[in-house]
Symmetry: C2
Subunit: 324 residues, 2 copies
């Protein structure tokens, strides 16, 4: 088609249908707020214009970019990995929490509190090189299926959010994940699932060591959590790693509150996008009382801070990137 | 000029003089090794081709991108800042090390060893918001002059390295600083001095806190060093922050050895660039015996690892970006 014919063709198509950057979002206020913000900060003639270098957008992962029920997917991975490791060597299950985890007994592990979780994380996420650990995540993602949807976990990403990430990048935003989840775990799928490369992923991380003693240097994962990327840790990690205050932040739980508060309290145009899980039919409905993804502060204070309060049931015409 | 006329013009100019990406490098082996590497990894027809996403280049700062004699410039900043703070409130000089630092008495501070240095860093680099701290660095860079060259410190960057950084970016490399120097200190000048944005700077960092109690949330610098980005810390921090093994690493001291070893031991094409300070006339000549920028391992093992051993006196036709 020639340029002239193409122009004529475009002129006959309603602009919105040709250009809709967020097709899985219904024509709601949420969608309009997001598009209005992006159009303002990318228009050099607009008073709210922001240079591309400062167009930093940060997103939580669990419950914001993919599902997190009935329990964080990385926790399911940890239990599956422990089960597999124990098949090779049962003696590694040295504590009640580890024995429970290897049986997939979530309740008992959670009853053990913080110490039990650390035991499970240390046993399943250390004593291995970063490369070998990430290979095990790759294999798990290929095999494992969600107990309720039967989808591979990396197809339980939210189609509307994948569209939002792409839209922002198309408009010269740099998109980051800032998650309480594990850095090395997320890096395995974030590039193909979200288009977010390893260097734009911030998360909780364990201790690592550099070992060149074997001739070929390697980075190993060792026991102990070096940094928890949750609550106040999120703005701290963003400042430390990115060094700029984002202009857009998306989250869904109280763990994201500080990140969204810091982002949206900055001078100039800012946008907070809070995902509220309201869809018991297509996903899950939970907030104030949930053990996973508890949301109180954002519900109470988000509206007065001007955040976009995304109502999943009403604002999203489709949920998962995988068939559903 | 029309395209045709432009083509004719280009055809009359010797290609090298038009295209030389490293004009401040003499026509040495070092320059040829660097250009040969970059041409190989960017040529899709070459067996050593590397996709743009994997073209990660990391550089030390002190002694690699700018000078570091007679003592790390950040240390001079710390002393200047302490002097200024003490003029407002002399009671902050609570220890012999702090009193010495505020008088610019480097020797006494260094005699005090690690504890003395921590005292000076804590007193001069904490108790302030990140924003306010960085404002103080900006002001210092405007006023302070190097005791021997009388240049502003951010003009004591090395012109050949600034050209190398630009050349790499023109060839779709992503350039990073990975320095034992302070993260917040470097971010103030790295963008204008090197074209490296805040999110591509890794360095040593102190503890920070998120404080929203005053209504307007702020990140504050508090006492204590959270991470030392030196020696093994460099590959650890690169893995943690970038999540990819670089294909090119530049450094000048034993603090850079692990980063360069890890980089160049990777599979496929890799390049190590070691800056050897050999120019007592135009800069400084030092290596094995130097208190600052001590270089032993790189000199001994670099050649057998195939590193480019940059001889400043012979390989660089110009040293500083500032007049000299």
């Amino acid at each position: 088609m020639s340029i002239l014919k193409l122009s004529a063709f475009i002129a006959t198509v309603p602009f919105a249908s040709l250009a809709d950057p967020l097709p899985s979002w219904t024509e709601s206020d949420s969608k309009q707020q997001i598009i209005g913000f992006v159009e303002a900060v990318t228009d050099p003639a607009n008073k709210d214009y922001v240079t591309p270098a400062e167009r930093i957008a940060v997103f939580d992962n669990d419950g914001t970019l993919w599902a997190e029920q009935p329990v964080y997917f990385q926790f399911i991975f940890a239990m599956d990995r422990l089960t597999e490791m124990a098949e090779q060597d049962p003696s590694i299950l040295t504590t009640p929490a580890l024995k429970a985890a290897a049986k997939g007994d979530v309740a008992t592990v959670l009853d053990g509190g913080h110490d039990a979780l650390i035991e499970v994380v240390n046993a399943s996420h250390s004593g291995v090189s970063v490369d070998a650990f990430q290979d095990s995540v790759t294999t798990w993602l290929e095999i494992a299926r969600h107990p309720e949807t039967n989808l591979p976990y990396d197809q339980m990403t939210y189609q509307p959010m994948v569209e939002l990430l792409r839209y922002l990048r198309d408009e010269d935003f740099k998109t980051y994940i800032v998650s309480g989840g594990g850095l090395h775990f997320m890096r395995v799928f974030a590039d193909h699932a979200y288009g977010i490369p390893p260097e734009q992923i911030l998360g909780t991380y364990g201790e690592t060591t550099y070992d060149a003693s074997g001739g070929s240097p390697v980075i190993n994962k060792t026991p102990g959590i070096a940094f928890v990327d949750d609550k106040d840790g999120k703005p701290i990690n963003i400042e430390r790693t990115i060094g700029r205050r984002p202009i857009l932040a998306g989250g869904n739980s109280d763990g994201d509150f500080a990140m969204m508060e810091w982002t949206t309290a900055g001078e100039g145009p800012r946008l907070g996008v809070l995902i509220h899980h309201t869809d018991a039919d297509r996903e899950w409905a939970y907030d104030r009382e949930s053990a996973v993804g508890r949301l109180v502060d954002g519900l109470d204070k988000g509206p007065e801070m001007g955040w976009v309060m995304v109502d999943m049931a009403n604002d999203w015409s489709r949920i998962y990137t995988g068939a559903n």
